[in-house]
Every structure is written in C-alpha cells, then in structure tokens.
C-alpha cells in the first residue's frame, strides 16, 4: 500500500500538507495575537504586509492543504476503523482528490479575483 503507488502519494501529500499547516498555524496565531498591542500597535502593519499578493497566493495553497489533509484524514480514519475501507483505499484516495477539487475550484473562483483586483 505504501510502495510507490497511490498510498505512498497519499502519505507524502498528507505529511507535506501537515508540516505546512502546523508551521502556518504557529505563524498565524503569532500574528493575530498582535491585536493585544491595540489598534495603534503593530497589527495593521503586519496584516498589510500579509495582504500582498504572494502571501495571498500562499494562503490559497494553505486552504488547499487544509481541504486535502482533512479529507485524507477522514480516509485514514475509515481505513483504521472499518473492515471494508482498506480494500477501496485507492478509490478512496481518488475520491479525496476529487472532492478536494470540487471544494477547491469554487474557492479559487472566489479568491483569485480578490487577489487580481488588489483588494
């Protein structure tokens, strides 16, 4: 299941997205916690910095990582706790990719114009 086929790719993507999400989470909590310094503190300057387009594209990637990691996590739970899912693990992974696209593409249509529009 892990030898170079779909299960291996599912695992790599789960691990890479997981590492990215954990590191993003810490950065995100840190920068949002700057609200403690009040309206005249560093918060708005930090956010203006992060509103630049490279970071907004990065945020889209983070959202994609969230959706994939969540759905593949549900796949792992099915593999662990049901007797039947392991037989369909490959199909389930393609299902994960499909649903990730079904959720992700409307998100792109919502957010890409915001980035291009410079908002």
């Amino acid at each position: 299941m892990y030898r170079g086929r779909e299960g291996q790719w599912a695992y790599y993507l789960h691990r890479i997205s997981g590492i990215a999400l954990a590191l993003y989470l810490m950065l995100h909590v840190f920068d949002i916690s700057l609200v403690m310094w009040g309206p005249d503190g560093p918060f708005n300057d930090f956010l203006l910095f992060y509103h630049q387009w490279p970071f907004r594209v990065g945020l889209v990637l983070i959202i994609a990582g969230v959706v994939y990691h969540a759905l593949n996590g549900l796949r792992i739970i099915l593999l662990d706790f049901t007797p039947w899912a392991i037989r369909y693990q490959r199909a389930l992974w393609y299902g994960v990719l499909g649903v990730t696209a079904v959720i992700g593409i409307p998100v792109l249509f919502k957010i890409i114009p915001e980035i291009v529009g410079g908002a």
Binding site: L21, A22, L25, V29, V35, M36, F43, R56, A119
Partner: protein, 148 residues
C-alpha cells in the same frame, strides 16, 4: 555499542488492534487515538473557520477592527480556544512523528523537540491571551495594582 543501536523502522499501525500491539506504552496508543478524534473534530472547526474568514468575507480586507469585533464575541472566544488547543496539539504531535522519522541522532532529536515544544507553548499562551484580551497593558496594570 550505544552508537550502533539499530533503529527500528516499523510501519505505522493501521488498525486499533495493531496499534495496541505496536505501542508498548499506553501513551503512544493514547496519541494514536487522539490524532483520530481531534482530526475528526478539526475537520468541522477548521472548515468553519476558513469559511467564515476567507469565503464569507474578502480575507484581504481583514484588519484590527475586524479581529477585535470577532474576539469581543464570547462564542468566538470559546470556539477559537478549542480550535487553538486541538490544532496545536494535533499539529505538534504530527511534527513529533516527523522529527522522530527524520532526526535519528538522539541529541539532535532532543534539541529539535525542545525548540518545537518551547515555541508551541509560547504560541499557545500568546493565542489564549489574545483571545481573552489580556493585553500587556492590562496585565502590567494588574501587576502594578497588586502592590497597592
């Protein structure tokens, strides 16, 4: 002898009975179960969080007033506290697996984990303080008032 200790590269257990058999200590079994329960809960918490702050609004317009208005709502404080705690525990334990997989030398492993756990505790405290709006100004006032 100690330097030549063979490293065991067992595949991660795939079922509850395998996990029981693999993990000699109850701690690792508990983390295995925690990752699945917290993961399931986080699907809903994180999707709601992303939907609220990226889809319902334009995330490029978020500023101090928006966050202050959200953190003033008790429901947001409670939800975000659960989100903060569960996500940090889930993420940190995941990074612990990653560290154990890729850092093989005990001393390197120890220091990488020491830095990781220190940063996570700091981030958790910062997050809780921000959520419950204990500003440094307010905390300073409270500490000064203790002496009076």
């Amino acid at each position: 002898m100690a330097a030549e200790t063979p490293t065991v590269r067992a595949r991660r257990p795939r079922t509850l009975s395998e996990a029981r058999a693999t993990y000699a200590t109850n701690n690792e079994l508990a983390w295995w179960v925690f990752m699945r329960i917290s993961g399931f809960l986080l699907v809903f918490l994180v999707f709601a969080h992303v939907f609220t702050n990226n889809i319902l609004i334009n995330a490029g317009t978020i500023d101090y007033d928006y966050v202050a208005e959200r953190f003033a709502q008790p429901a947001v404080r409670v939800m975000d506290s659960f989100l903060l705690g569960l996500a940090l525990l889930h993420g940190t334990n995941g990074l612990r697996y990653v560290v154990d997989d890729y850092f093989r030398r005990p001393q390197v492993r120890f220091w990488v984990k020491a830095v990781l756990y220190t940063v996570v505790v700091a981030v958790f405290v910062l997050g809780l303080m921000a959520l419950w709006t204990f500003t440094f100004t307010e905390m300073g006032d409270a500490i000064r008032n203790l002496g009076q």
